[in-house]
Every structure is written in C-alpha cells, then in structure tokens.
C-alpha cells in the first residue's frame, strides 16, 4: 500500500497554530501552559501532552531589513526506519502499512529509550501515566477514511494529506516555483533524510534555519547497542552456565580416577 503522509508547506503557513489546537482537541490532550520565554513559541518542545508545536524562529540578517520569520510545524517525522521502534524493549512501536509509526500505550512501560534514540527527540514522557506519547499521524482518523486533525483544520492549505508520491511530485513543483520567485534556497525536507520520512516539508530556506538537522542521524550508540551488544554479548551467560555444568561433571569423573580430594580441600 502506498504511503500516506502530510505535506507541510512553510511558504503558505501563517503560524496560526490551528493545527496545535486541532491536535489537542482530537487527541484529548490537556493544555500545557509554559512561561513566556521572550518569543512567540507557545511551547519550547513537544511534551507528553503536546504532540505538535509551532516554532517561531526570528532571523535578523540585515538590520535595515525587518526580522525574517521562519515558522515550522514540528512533530514526529514517522521515519521509514524508526529508531524508536528499534530500541523499544516492549515492541510498543509498529509501522502501519500506510507509513505511520504508531506507539501503543498499552505496551509502553515508560523506559524512555525511544526518547533518547530518536534523532528528532520526539517521543516524550507523560509522567502521570508513566508512558511515552507522540504524534500518531491520526491513525484512528486515517483508518476511518478521514484526514489527520491538523491537516483538516489548516485554513491556508499549508498542510495537506494524501499519497506520498503524489505529494512529493507537488512539492517538487512548488520548490521549483519558490526558487524562481525569491526563495533560492527553497528545498524539500523528508524525501531522503534518514532513508525517507513519512512527513514532507517544503522549506523556504535551508533546514538549519528552521532548527531541523540538515543530515539527521540515529546516534551511533543505538545501533552498537541493538545490533552488536544485545544479540551477541549475552551469549556469555549461557556459556558460563554450560562451562560450570561441564566442570561439575568432569571434576566428579576425574575425582574417581585421581583419588578423592583430601578433606577440606585438595591438591
């Protein structure tokens, strides 16, 4: 089945935050009020009750110019090969056939391995339930034939939802247009990053201007741990047990041959 995804076009976004509200509404997430930090962001980062946030990044290039705004809707990227799914010891993460990385809270034990494996630091700990939460790509809505809450509510058409390859073709057209019309650095994000993300972005500038990693990588400790340590090193334990059992038998067999050990020890 073709992957279905969101396309988010920064050039059309007015940062109205309708998507945050729609997400909170559909997923029944309580408000999280953070103190004013000197910018327009309502939330510094996603948290246990906020699956998607809107970044307001102010860029001051030339003092004569106005401040340049970089808006960014930020949430789970639904990677094709998710690191969270790899590290989860309870196999709480699954990949739906249409590309959503779904986290099952029933299985979650709140170990937070995923939080630290994720290149985008997305899965967040919800303390009151001792569980991890994150964007579901509205699995429940999509599988009922609806579009994700954020995409449905977007008033400017910055967010759309559909088949990934169709949206990718649209995005390529749009980037060509933007490059020719005053945004020479416009680019697509999510097409190739980490082998493909199931969230597509049209950016008006390079990803770093939006606080996105230019070349996101799964931290090297994670594959070392999951691909080398866990499958192989653990065999030392059965080796020790087998060695002990073997010695238990041979010592007693050889004791008969070489005579009983002297009382209180041997040699």
């Amino acid at each position: 089945m073709a992957y279905k995804t969101n396309l988010y076009d920064v050039s059309k976004c007015t940062a109205c935050r309708g998507c945050i509200i729609a997400c909170k509404d559909w997923n029944q997430l309580p408000a999280v009020i953070e103190p004013f930090k000197g910018n327009y962001c309502t939330h510094e980062d996603t948290n246990g009750d906020t699956f998607t946030i809107m970044r307001f990044i102010e860029e001051e290039t030339d003092p004569a110019d106005d401040v340049k705004w970089h808006f960014l809707k930020y949430q789970c990227m639904h990677c094709f090969d998710p690191a969270c799914m790899k590290v989860c010891p309870r196999h709480a993460y699954t990949k739906t056939e249409w590309g959503a990385t779904y986290h099952d809270p029933e299985k979650c034990i709140g170990c937070q391995y995923c939080t630290y494996a994720c290149p985008f630091h997305i899965p967040k700990y919800r303390k009151r339930e001792d569980k991890i939460t994150k964007c579901t790509l509205c699995v429940d809505r999509v599988e009922a034939g609806l579009t994700p809450a954020c995409a449905r509510t977007c008033p400017t058409g910055a967010l759309s939802f559909g088949d990934r390859h169709e949206l990718l073709a649209q995005a390529e057209e749009r980037v060509k247009f933007l490059r020719a019309n005053g945004f020479p650095n416009a680019t697509i994000y999510g097409k190739l990053e980490l082998g493909g993300l199931n969230k597509l972005y049209i950016l008006t500038d390079t990803p770093d201007k939006f606080g996105l990693p230019i070349d996101p990588k799964v931290p090297a400790q994670i594959p070392f741990w999951k691909d080398w340590v866990q499958p192989y090193v653990g065999w030392l334990i059965p080796l020790a047990l087998a060695g002990s059992a073997f010695s238990f038998v041979t010592t007693r067999m050889l004791a008969g041959k070489h005579g009983e050990h002297a009382e209180g020890g041997h040699e």
């Binding site: 309870r90 866990q230 499958p231 050990h261 020890g265 041997h266």
Partner: protein, 230 residues
C-alpha cells in the same frame, strides 16, 4: 554425593571474612539476582513474558528492579561506611597481582576441569579471585551509575543517557558471567573446599588456609616476628 564439604567446628578455624563483608556479599547476592531476573525481562528481546509474569508483569518487574537496585546501592554504602578498612585491604591485596597469580590463572583451566594441579602459593585472594574481585565490582559500579542515569534521564546530558544503555548491558553480561562462575567455584567445585564456609560462617579451617593461601596465612596468623613472607 557430597556437594559442599562438611562444616567442621571441631578443628582449628581462622577468620576469613568479617560480618560486614559477609552481609554485603549476601545482600548483593540477593539484590543482584533480583535485578538480573527483572532486567532480563527487557534484555531478552524476543519476549520474556513468562519471566515478567513471575514479577507481576512488566511494570511489576520494573518496580522490583528499582527496589532491588536501591537496596544493592545501600549495601554498597554500608560496606564503604562500616568496613572501609576492609575495602582498602582488599584493594591492596588485588594490587599484589603478580607472577604467582599469572601462573595460577594459566593453570586454572585444568583445575577447573578437575585435573590435579600444583599451584604456586597465593595471597589472601588467589589469581582467579583477584580477577573476579576486579571485574565484578567494576561492572557493578558501572551498572549502578548507568542505571541511575537511565532511571532519571532528564537530569543528565542526552549523550550520557545514550551510552548508558550499552554500558548497562555489557556490564550486566560480564558481571553475570563472573557471578555464574563465582557461584559455582565458590560452592560445588571440589577445589573450592572450605571457601563457601569462609563466606557463610566467616571462618575456614586452619589447615585449608595454610594449604590454599599460604602467603595470607603466614602474614595474618603465623608469627609475624619472622617478617614478611613475600
């Protein structure tokens, strides 16, 4: 078949481990095994539902793991506070690792299988015990440190949290490997003889101590006026 030599109260015995050392040892035995079983619930990636069920499911296993881990840490603290001199003496003995210990370790595989071997005289801890005493506590300290980092990841740098995962696993496997060998060698292996009673009752037979740890015996219980045996 006799598994462990009989405890003989009627022969001359000498002290090998004091009360604090023994309490720490057996406290760590219980808490380590609890931590191990509850930790394997997550380490055995292909599913260990049967093991989790024993501890009341995955959340129950997590709770037992944490309680046992804190208790293990408390035993460490007790050892440091109440028998600091014992730890220093222990470390001093480990630092005496030398030629005799290397010969011991080289010949040990034969002894392990039950062939009669003549070992060079050993200090308080023989070559193998020295190795165990160096590796296992190092692994346990790594387990404790990485464990608390994984428990409270938000107060530590993210990079440190990420390295803690493989460290916790590697230290667990090495410590468990040593604990399996140590458990067997300290009990059912015929060569260990009295050493089980040294840790259980605190004393070993005088003749066994002379035979297995002559340097230690000379220095501790023989007439010290004769000078160091080393």
């Amino acid at each position: 078949m006799q598994l462990i030599p009989e405890y003989r109260a009627d022969v001359k015995r000498v002290e090998r481990f004091n009360f604090v050392a023994r309490m720490t040892h057996w406290g760590h035995t219980v808490t380590f095994i609890l931590c191990l079983l509850t930790g394997l619930v997550l380490f055995l990636n292909s599913g260990a539902n049967w093991l989790a069920t024993i501890f009341g499911g995955y959340n129950g296993a997590g709770l037992v793991h944490r309680i046992a881990a804190v208790t293990l840490t408390i035993f460490l603290a007790i050892f440091v506070v109440f028998d600091f001199k014992g730890i220093i003496d222990w470390i001093k003995d480990l630092l005496r690792f030398g030629k005799n210990d290397i010969i011991f370790v080289m010949k040990f595989p034969l002894e392990f299988l039950g062939f009669p071997v003549k070992m060079p005289p050993q200090t308080r801890f023989n070559g193998g015990e020295k190795g165990n005493s160096m590796l296992t506590p190092t692994c346990v300290i790594l387990l404790v440190l990485s464990g608390y980092i994984m428990w409270f990841p938000s107060i530590f740098p993210a990079g440190l949290v990420r390295v803690s995962y493989p460290i916790h696993d590697i230290a667990m496997v090495l410590a468990t490997f040593m604990v399996c060998m140590h458990g067997y060698l300290g009990s059912f292996h015929p060569g260990s003889g009295e050493s089980f009673w040294g840790m259980w009752k605190g004393t070993v037979r005088d003749d066994w101590a002379q035979h297995h740890h002559p340097i230690w015996y000379e220095e501790t219980y023989a007439d010290k006026a004769e000078g160091d045996a080393e």
